[in-house]
Symmetry: C2
Subunit: 339 residues, 2 copies
């Protein structure tokens, strides 16, 4: 961390004047710098050719530090993953801070370092940004918006309209870890071992699959807010297809499952951050699963169900003991400020 | 405004579940819809070719409604103008809301309508977005982030390194209107006629100049936070050039000038939103000025000074009575939450 003559961030650091420059010059530009960012213009100059994905997300997770990560890497991974879900190769990020007056510089710096490493892992550059400060009590420590752009992989044909009857629904790993990590901190719960957020960048894993299986990957989506249930139901509703999924095939860590039970939460609705769902052609599903399991991010991957002709627009879950229930979207709010 | 069964926005509207969909389907998608947004994927699919600008800004103006506009059009115009200052033709915006629980839906809707019209005026489309809600007391009604992309105009050669000795510094209109409009509401000041924000989209005006004068436009910048003084000093500092500017040539509305005097504010440091500064070749400066004055956004345009060899890195202001003073960046914060 650089030596600074201030310990906390004040309103002046969002003025656009001397203090803003002091804050940015104190190490932010050194840490995140690259040829494009270093131009320091009102916007970044990029070279883009052809089909490009563009995505945005604001992050307001509370607390800003949690087991397995902090809001900084969450903000990078979140937008990187949204781009990857488009079949894009994330390249450039914007980074916009809304800081509550009084945030310790030490915490801000720790988050910046996490951003830097998350960018390196994902292979993206922060090319433009913004820093604003709100008065104490008008924000909550730190909100971060990231937007991102990146070229669509030439072999990607991702889109809800590509889903076909019989498609297999593959999930890349254990569910509910991120939500339960946040919840355990908020509720002061202690377990035998810490429940850690699964936040990570999925772009290399996803692009690997697209590279190998191209048009057999029909749709990709990451079940963040609202969890697996909400995202599947939303797809069923918007495309009109039905889905059957099987509880016995849903991968979940024992401790996370216990924590959910303890708090009366259905893990199907708990947020994930380092997880994706792929709709894959029936013919290639086993091959995709085998390939995905070779990947660190996919070692617990499972086929959890399939797209069916019966019950259009409905997602039906078959429970471990054979009962069936209709899966709906999260009706209210289970865990506010999860991402 | 659509008929809804809720009057205020609650945490559930940011859940990503049923209520989020209800809010978005209540008219947001109808209002802002276009072929790209309607895909409703995790990101938008764009076609981009060649040099492209990418910019981001978060808006936290308080109050969210002010004379001459609201936070919605400010958020569209702000990013549109940042792209225009790169010599780009703004095309696509992302739109991310951070809503404080309890925001009246009526106000949210009014802001959405302002966003729609601002997009139409600027010729841009909202193609991707995000909606989050924070608990009461953890935000302040509404924060908006917009990011944008657009192709660089083929005749644009904008960049601080293009500034040349003798360049004329042109300002497109009256200074300090936005800041004083916000200030007058906050302080409950009343004037003979209302001071209104100058928020507007500058892209058509700027692209018109680039189209006509191409490489004679060396640098463009919009003096928002920190005002004209801060932005000129920042350029002087980063490029190493000196500048002389003349107070008598600085266009300002009488009432705005009086309001500044009343509050002891130097208008050179007050934020502008619908204003730009162009560094233009000496040879073509008069022609650029004449062209700009034909434009609604440029009718009060003036040449306020020039780039000089003397006093590198310094901006010197000659006052109306002939005295000289060094212009520095805004040292602290004059008006927090101005944009």
């Amino acid at each position: 961390m650089p030596k600074l003559d201030f310990d906390v961030i004040t309103l002046g650091h969002g003025s656009g004047g001397v203090l803003t420059n002091k804050l940015l010059d104190s190490g932010v530009f050194d840490l995140l710098g690259n040829d494009i960012l270093d131009e320091r213009h009102d916007g970044a100059f990029l070279e883009l050719h052809g089909k490009t994905a563009f995505s945005t997300d604001s992050f307001l997770v509370s607390p800003i530090f949690f087991p397995g990560g902090n809001i900084g890497e969450l903000a990078v991974n979140g937008t990187v993953n949204d781009l990857a879900m488009c079949g894009a190769m994330p390249r450039y990020l914007s980074l916009s801070f809304i800081i509550e007056e009084g945030l310790p510089v030490k915490e801000f710096w720790e988050i910046l370092v996490a951003i830097k490493f998350a960018c390196e892992r994902a292979g993206v550059q922060v090319v433009t940004g913004d820093t604003k400060v709100v008065e104490k009590g008008k924000g909550d420590k730190l909100f971060i918006n990231t937007s991102g752009v990146g070229p669509i992989h030439p072999k990607a044909t991702i889109g809800a309209k590509n889903i076909q009857m019989g498609d297999r629904i593959i999930i890349s790993g254990n569910i509910a870890a991120h939500g339960m990590a946040i919840m355990s901190v908020r509720e002061g719960l202690e377990f035998d071992s810490e429940i850690r957020s699964d936040t990570t960048n999925l772009n290399h894993s996803v692009i690997g699959l697209i590279e190998k299986f191209g048009p057999d990957i029909h749709l990709l989506t990451d079940p963040t807010r609202g969890g697996v249930a909400t995202v599947l139901k939303e797809i069923a509703r918007s495309t009109g297809v039905g889905m059957d999924i099987f509880q016995k095939d849903l991968p979940i860590d024992d401790q996370v499952a216990n924590a959910c039970e303890l708090l009366g939460l259905d893990p199907l609705y708990v947020a994930n951050e380092g997880l994706f769902i792929a709709f894959v052609s029936e013919a290639r599903a086993d091959a995709v699963l085998a390939e995905l399991r070779k990947d660190e991010n996919g070692r617990n991957a499972q086929i959890i169900g399939s797209v069916v002709k019966e019950h259009p627009k409905q997602v039906i879950l078959e429970s471990a003991i054979g009962g069936k229930r209709v899966v709906n979207m999260l009706p209210g709010e289970q865990l506010p400020r999860i991402c």
